[in-house]
Symmetry: C2
Subunit: 345 residues, 2 copies
Amino acid sequence: MANLINIDGRMKRISQRDIAKILGINVSTVSRALRGVEGVGPELKEKIAQLAKEQGYTPNPFALSLRYDTTRTIGVIVPNVSFSHFAHIVKYLEMEAKKAGYMCIITDSDDKYENEVAIVEHMMSMHVDGIIVCLAQDTTDYSHLFRVKERSVPIVIFDRIADVNLSTVVINDTDSVRQVTHYLIDCGAKRIAFLGGSNRMKQTADRKHGYLEALRERRIPIRKELVKCHNTSFNSGLTDMMDLLDLPEPPDAIIAAHGLLANAAFKAINSRGLRIPEDIALVGYMSDWVSDIMTPRITFVKQNLRDIGGKAFKLLNDQINGDFSVKHIVLKARLELRETTKKIT
Amino acid sequence: MANLINIDGRMKRISQRDIAKILGINVSTVSRALRGVEGVGPELKEKIAQLAKEQGYTPNPFALSLRYDTTRTIGVIVPNVSFSHFAHIVKYLEMEAKKAGYMCIITDSDDKYENEVAIVEHMMSMHVDGIIVCLAQDTTDYSHLFRVKERSVPIVIFDRIADVNLSTVVINDTDSVRQVTHYLIDCGAKRIAFLGGSNRMKQTADRKHGYLEALRERRIPIRKELVKCHNTSFNSGLTDMMDLLDLPEPPDAIIAAHGLLANAAFKAINSRGLRIPEDIALVGYMSDWVSDIMTPRITFVKQNLRDIGGKAFKLLNDQINGDFSVKHIVLKARLELRETTKKIT
DNA sequence: TTGAAAGCGGTACCAG
DNA sequence: CTGGTACCGCTTTCAA
């Protein structure tokens, strides 16, 4: 059962050559037999299969990579793998990739542009068959992505994308916030605040845009002091929310347009002894389980993370298979009503 | 700047052979020059370096893998990458690995034994330089791990380990729970309940053992109905906690010895209108941020996830570098007091 | 200082 | 149906 064989006194993995030598035949015959290609006598084929199994032969993938310059490996870059949102997407992406016979190299850019560039270069030098990336928050130069495309390596961007001519997968950022805003207005909210990430991210800009659009549609004056876009971190959300509560006229509804910002807002509101949703309504963007563990459970915009990962891989796979047309997929995100908003009818 | 060169009408990555051909010299000379090995004339060396840079030459890692049977890649297997605890460990592990020049193939066993076995086999066939694994909850047969060792591929187990002769990294499971239990008794708790994962996991067994030990040390009778070990999932914790609250004499303190179980307990207690910590105290095992987003913040046992990942890689790297001695590292976890326990002095 | 050639493991083409 | 051999990119001996 051991995979190692003693050749010339050194232990090494058994190769087709070894099998050929043992049986006193030629490598090419072994190769054909093992691949099930026509042109090998049935009993010889059987003998080869037998010995291969006995010796625990497994093909050396690097010989193939070398020959065909394909590694059946794809590179995945996210800002932070330990963040639930990305962890889930990566998980589903990897499942799809595995089904199609691809391994994933998953790497974390720590949300920094320089890291992202270095990782992309490294992946290129590893000869990955394609790259799937969610941009760092400070990525505003995209030349590293174009370089990938120039070398005709497939590439897909998801979630945090940019206005570039590359395939993308996102949720309906603008429209989802627009709907949330309308919903809050319908609930009777008069002063809706918007909590977002860095203004440099197109995702934040798009979501903010949906918020502003909805206010205009309902002829509600836009109050600059109710818009806070700094950083996606919990602590940033906490101070921003405190500032909002300190306003002479504090908001009566919050749209927290990024993962932990809703939890930060929740905490801040709680710390002031205000009630949710009676005093302030709250809507977040998060995973089910993060909403579930809170009391009351947070009303949130649900993104189909399985779909984001799956579609991202699909677009990449299309490119790998020769379809180089640029595609833009927009997935619908749904508002999931829980207990931090209350419809007033 | 392009990395591709037109050879025979086909675009391909530039190789040492190409450089040699262009300069009308031999590949071996190029190889030596590029590696900085002695034995190449200074001006020729310069010319080669120049051209290589110009053409964007990067070595083909598969040629090297093929030659040396080393891939500078390590395989990492966790039960669930999207679970915050593992996501963090994996992140730090990957950082360390990267520093040492290794890529990580991170894969999710979905907490299933069969998947774990298949993944281990697959990684072996990929020629990873080592494997780091956290066992699935139903893994009770370890032959797949021994097979790895037999083929002299380095292997390290972490977090959920087994009593096997392989290198391991864990926290002080038993003792940490022992301390927590003592602490709760000091707080005045009379009926402490223990919420754990599957009994098949050594980790759960060890933690439960710490709980029982402490009770014995303080001569507190052990009540079977206060021990619930089923599953690490949120829903399982929820029903277990409900059952505990339905007891004729419900507990006045809970030790939730696994990630989301504490949040489940929190939710259940809340749903009954009980106060934390006044009516029931609660201690969990979780990340800072999961504790932070709760109100009140949950008192928890803090594990140094960076250390777990770092040490796991270190043990693996030792083996890769020829030190095959089996090592067992036990990291200290610290009780972090927050707001769900109250010391009565 | 430089060149020639073998070899890592597999595939593919051409001969027999 | 089977064998021989060149080749993928790189390193490493041995020879010049």
